[in-house]
Amino acid sequence: MRVTQSLEQSQFLTAINQLESNISTTQNQISSGLSFTTASQNPIGAGLVTNYNQALTQSQQFVTNSNSAQTSLNTEDTALTQMQNSLQSLRDLALEANNSSESPQDLSAIATQATQIQNTLLSLANTQDGSGNFIFAGFSTQSQPFALSATGAAYSGDQGQRQVQIAPGQTVVVGDNGDLVFNQIKTGNGTFVASAAAGNTGTGVVSTATVADPAAYTGGTYSIDFTAPNTYQVLDANNNVVTSGTFTSGQAISFAGVQVTLTGQPAADDSFSVAPSTNQSVFTTVQNLVTALQQQGTTSAAGGAQLNNSINSAINNIDQALNQSETIQSSVGARLNGITTQQSVASSQQIQLQKSISNLQSLDLPSAITSLDQQNTTLSAAMQAFTLTQGLSLFKFIQ
C-alpha cells in the first residue's frame, strides 16, 4: 500500500493521543486508588457502589439510632431499679407496721418514712433524660407527667411509646409510659381483691386470697357476710347465696374458683367483699398506707384489725407494683439485648458492605503499576519509531 508521510504523521498523532489518555486514566486510578472514578468506566459497578454506600450509611444510622435507644433504655432501667428498691423499702416498712407491738408513735414515724418514699417515687416518675425529656411521660415528653394529689398523683402524660428503628423493619420501644409503670397496677392479687368492709366490728383480717380454680373463676363480685361470729354466707351480686358454712379462723373459704382465708374473729354483721382487681396508682397505694398509719388513734381490737387489713392490702398492692416494675424491667433488658445483637449484626453487615464496595471499586495496585509501565514503554517505543521513520527521506540523498 502507498503510505504518505502526512498519513503517517496523523496516525502517529492519533496513536500518541490514545496512549497518553490511557496513561492519564491509569495515573488517575493509581492516585485515587479506585478502579473506576466515573460510571461510564463501569456502569453496573457504579450503580452497585451507590447502592452499597446508601446501605452502609443507613446501617451506620441504625447504629446511631440504637445507641440513642440504648441510652434511653439504660436511663429507664436505672429508674426502674430505684423504683423497685423504694418499693422494697416501703414493703419492709409496711411489714414492720403490721407488727401489733408498734406504738402509735412508731406508726407515725413509719408513715413519715412512707411519705418520703412516696416523694422518691414521684421524682423517679418524673425522671428526665439528658435532653430534659421526661422519660415516663409517653409522647408528652416536654411536661412533667406526675404531680401529687390528695389521693395519690395525677398523670398528665399519655400512653405513647416511642419506637426507634434499629434495623430494616425492626423497631425497638425506647420508653414505657408512666401510666403503665406507675398507674395501671392491678390491686389485690392481680385478679381480685378481698377486703374487709369499713364498719366491721370484729377482728377478722384477710390473710390470703388466691384464685384456686381459674376455670371456675367468674370475675363477679361477692360478699362474705357473717350472720353470726362463726357462721358466714357468700352472696353474689344479686344477693343469691353461693355458699355458706361455719367459720374457723385460718380455714379457707372457697367459692366460684376463689379461695379466701380469714383470720381472727369476725363479729356478726361483719362483711368481706371479693371484687375483680382494678387499676390503682402506686401513689394511691402509698397514700392509702400513709392514711391508714396516721389513723392509729383507735386502739381497739377492731381498729387493729382494720389497720392490719389496710396494711395487708397495701402490701398486696406493693407486690403488684413490684411485679409490674420487674416485668417492665425484664422487657427493657430484652430490648437492650435485642439492640446489642442488632449492633453486632450491623457491624458485620457494615464490614461486608465495605468489603463489597472495596471489591468493586478498589484498584489492584500492582497490576495498575505494571500496566502504567507497559503504557510508558509503548509510548516511548512509538515515539522512537516515529523519529526513525521520519528521518528517512529520499530528498536527503539527492545531492
Binding site: S6, L7, G47, T50, N53, Q58, D158, Q159
Partner: protein
C-alpha cells in the same frame, strides 16, 4: 538534424512541466484536500519522411489528480458518523462526570437527608436535630437544582452550537455553489480544473463533519449536495438556506428548517454529523437525564410532603409541605388552531415515568404517545375536570374541546428538579409525631391492649377527633356510645382516617380512646416513617425506592456514556481506515516525488545532451559546408 533539435525541445518543455507538477505536489504536501497530480505525457504525432516514420517528440496531454469518488464518499460518511458521536460524547461525558462519580453530590445529600429524619426520630423535641434536617433538605434541593442547572446549560450550549453549525453549513453551501459555477466554466475547454475540484471536495468533506451529506455530480461538472432525507442544500449554482426555528412545543429548543420548508422542522431526518449529534444529544442524553432527575425530585417531594401532611409538628399542627417542586408541564403546540390549554398533575407516583408524551386530539378522540418509545398510552376519562384523562400516572384536564389536530407536549418530570425547594422555614414545623394517640383507661379491668394506631387518610377532617371505644361485653364494643360491634382480638378498627387494633381479653366496661396526638411532642412515629422512605418503593409501581432511583440514574448515565465512548472508539478506527484509503490514493508521498524528480532530472539532462549533440552535428555540418565554399 532540425528534427532532432525540435524533438529535444519538446522533451525539455514537457519535462519542465513535469518537474513543475512534481514541485507543485511537494509544495502542497501539507495542503488539506490536495490530491496528488500526475502529468500525462504522450508521444507527439509522428512525421512521415518518405518511407520512414520518425517520432516528433513528446506532448503534455494533461495533468490529472489521483482521486477516487467511492473512497471520498466513504470517508465523508464516516466523518459524519464520527462528528455525531463526538458531539454526543461531549455531553455524555459531562453528564457522566456530573452523576456518575460514586461520590456525587446528589447521593451524599440524599443520605444526609434521610439520616436527618432518623436523628429527629431519635430525639423528636431536639431543635438541633430538626434544624439539621431542614439544612439537609435544603442541601438536597440545592443539589437537584445544581444538577438540573448544569443540564439546562448543556441544552443552551446545544442551541448555540446548532446555530453555529447552521451558519457554517450555509457558508459552505454558498462556497460549493460558487465553485460549481467556476468548475462548469473551467471544464468547458475539456480540461479538468483540478484545484477547483480539490477545493470543492474539501468543502464537502468539512460539510460532512457538520451534517451527513449525499452528493451527485452532474454532466457539466457541477455537484448537487443534499442532507437528511434528500433535502437539497446545493443544486448546481443555487443553494437552499438552512434556518433554525423554535420547537413547536418548547420555544427554548432550536430545530432545523430550511428556506424551502416554511418553518417545518427537518430535525428528525438529520441524524449524522455534528448537527445530528447535537440533536441526538439533546433528545437522547440531556433531556432524558433531566427527566430522570426530575422523576426522583418529584417522588422525593411528593412522598416527603405526604408524610409531613399525615403527622403533627411541634405545635400540634398537621405538617405543612416540606418541599415544593414544579409539577408536570403541558405545552400546546404552536401549530394548534385554537387556544385550548391542558393542565396536568401526578395521579399515581408509582406509574410516573421519566418519558415525555404527546397528547393529540383527532377525530374526537385523544391519543397519547410516549416520545421515547413511540408507544401509545392507554387513556381513560374525557379530559374534563369531572372526568380527567388518566394514563401514565397522570391526570389531564383540558380547558375545553380542542380543535382537531391539536397537540400538546406533556413533560411530567422535566421541571421538578430545577424547581424543587424547601417550603418550610421553621424547624418546629417538621412533623415528627404521628397524628393520633391511643390509650387505655386506667379503670380498665380486662387484659386488653390497644396498638399505637396508624393514619390511613391524613385528609380526613375528623382525624383528630376523640373517639371512645367502650366494651359493652367482652365480645362487643360501642363507638362513642353508639352501635355494637363484634370484637376480634387484633382485628383492624378503622374510623375517621385512622386504624388501630385492640388485642387481648377486655372486660365489660373497659374503655379505649383514640385521639389527636396534639401534645405528643415526644412522638417520633412520623419521623421514623420519613427516614424509612429511603428504602421504600415508590416508583415503578412501588418497586423502586428513591435511593434506588438515584443509583439507577448513575447506572443509566454511565451506560449511556460507555455506549457513546465505545461507538466513538470504533468509529474513530473506521474513520482512520477511510482516511488511509483516501490518503493512499490521493496523498503526496515525498519519496515518490523525489524519485520522480530524479527521473525527470535525468530525462531532462539526457534531452539537453541530445540537443547539444544535435547542435554540434549542425555545427559540424555548417563547418564542413563552409570549408567547401571558402
Amino acid at each position: 538534424v532540425a528534427d532532432a533539435i525540435g524533438i529535444s525541445l519538446t522533451a525539455l518543455q514537457a519535462l519542465q512541466q513535469a518537474i513543475a507538477v512534481t514541485s507543485n505536489n511537494v509544495a502542497n504536501f501539507n495542503t488539506p484536500g490536495y490530491d496528488v497530480e500526475t502529468i500525462n505525457l504522450t508521444s507527439a504525432a509522428p512525421q512521415s519522411n518518405g518511407s520512414v516514420t520518425v517520432g516528433a517528440g513528446v506532448d503534455v496531454a494533461g495533468v490529472t489528480r489521483a482521486f477516487s469518488q467511492a473512497e471520498t464518499n466513504q470517508l465523508n460518511t464516516s466523518q459524519s458518523a464520527l462528528g455525531s458521536l463526538n458531539a454526543q460524547q461531549n455531553y455524555s461525558t459531562q453528564i457522566d462526570n456530573l452523576f456518575g462519580t460514586t461520590a456525587n453530590g446528589l447521593t451524599t445529600a440524599l443520605q444526609t437527608y434521610y439520616s436527618g429524619w432518623s436523628n429527629v426520630a431519635d430525639d423528636p423535641t431536639s431543635t438541633a436535630a430538626r434544624q439539621a434536617l431542614l439544612g439537609a433538605a435544603q442541601s438536597l434541593a440545592a443539589s437537584f437544582q445544581t444538577s438540573s442547572t448544569q443540564l439546562n446549560a448543556m441544552n443552551s450550549d446545544v442551541n448555540t452550537r446548532i446555530t453555529g453549525d447552521v451558519t457554517q453549513i450555509n457558508a459552505d453551501a454558498q462556497s460549493i455553489a460558487q465553485l460549481n459555477q467556476q468548475i462548469v466554466v473551467g471544464s468547458a475547454g475539456g480540461q479538468t480544473p483540478n484545484t477547483l475540484l480539490d477545493q470543492r471536495d474539501q468543502l464537502v468533506s468539512s460539510l460532512s463533519q457538520l451534517v451527513g451529506v449525499t452528493t451527485t455530480t452532474n454532466q457539466d461538472g457541477s455537484m448537487n449536495v443534499s442532507i437528511g432525507n434528500g433535502q437539497p442544500l446545493v443544486l448546481g449554482s443555487s443553494t437552499t438556506t438552512l434556518t433554525t426555528v423554535p420547537d413547536q412545543f418548547n420555544a427554548s429548543e432550536l430545530q432545523i428548517s430550511s428556506s424551502a420548508l416554511n418553518g417545518n422542522s427537518i430535525s428528525s431526518s438529520i441524524t449524522s454529523g455534528d448537527l445530528g449529534g447535537l440533536l441526538q444529544a439533546r433528545s437522547q442524553i440531556i433531556n432524558p437525564a433531566l427527566n430522570q432527575l426530575g422523576q426522583v425530585a418529584a417522588a422525593l417531594s411528593q412522598s416527603a410532603n405526604t408524610q409531613q401532611n399525615s403527622g403533627l409538628d411541634l405545635n400540634g399542627q398537621f405538617g405543612a409541605n416540606l418541599f415544593s417542586a414544579g409539577g408536570p408541564q403541558a405545552t400546546a403546540s404552536s401549530k394548534n388552531t385554537d387556544a385550548t390549554t391542558a393542565s396536568v398533575s401526578i395521579a399515581n407516583l408509582g406509574a410516573l415515568t421519566p418519558d415525555n408524551y404527546v397528547l393529540s386530539f383527532n377525530a374526537g378522540a385523544f391519543t397519547m404517545t410516549d416520545t421515547s418509545t413511540g408507544d401509545n398510552v392507554a387513556l381513560s376519562g374525557a379530559g374534563t375536570a369531572a372526568s380527567p384523562l388518566t394514563g401514565a400516572g397522570l391526570s389531564i384536564v383540558l380547558s375545553g374541546t380542542p380543535a382537531a389536530g391539536d397537540q400538546f407536549l406533556i413533560q411530567p418530570t422535566a421541571q421538578a428538579a430545577s424547581t424543587i425547594k424547601v417550603a418550610l422555614t421553621n424547624p418546629s414545623q417538621l412533623a415528627a409525631a404521628g397524628a393520633i394517640a391511643t390509650s387505655a383507661s386506667d379503670t380498665n379491668t380486662g387484659k386488653a391492649t390497644v396498638a399505637a394506631g396508624t393514619v390511613a387518610d391524613p385528609a380526613n377532617p375528623n382525624l383528630l377527633a376523640t373517639t371512645t371505644i367502650q366494651f359493652t361485653s367482652p365480645t362487643t364494643f360501642s363507638v362513642n356510645g353508639a352501635g355494637s360491634f363484634a370484637y376480634t382480638s387484633g382485628a383492624n378498627i378503622t374510623l375517621n382516617g385512622w386504624q388501630t387494633q385492640i388485642s387481648g381479653t377486655p372486660a365489660t366496661g373497659d374503655v379505649f380512646t383514640v385521639q389527636g396526638n396534639t401534645a405528643g411532642t415526644g412522638d417520633n412515629t412520623n419521623a421514623t416513617a420519613g427516614a424509612n422512605q429511603q428504602s421504600q418503593g415508590v416508583l415503578d409501581g412501588g418497586s423502586v425506592s428513591i435511593s434506588g432511583a438515584v443509583s439507577g440514574l448513575v447506572t443509566a448515565v454511565g451506560t449511556q456514556a460507555q455506549q457513546v465512548n465505545t461507538a466513538q472508539t470504533a468509529q474513530t478506527a473506521v474513520n482512520s481506515a477511510a482516511q488511509t484509503a483516501v490518503q493512499s490514493t490521493s496523498g503526496v508521498n515525498l519519496d515518490n516525488e523525489a524519485a520522480n524528480l530524479l527521473q525527470w532530472q535525468q530525462a531532462y539532462q539526457a534531452s539537453a545532451q541530445a540537443l547539444t549533440i544535435a547542435s554540434s552535428l549542425f555545427t559540424t555540418l555548417i563547418d564542413s559546408v563552409n570549408g567547401t565554399f571558402s
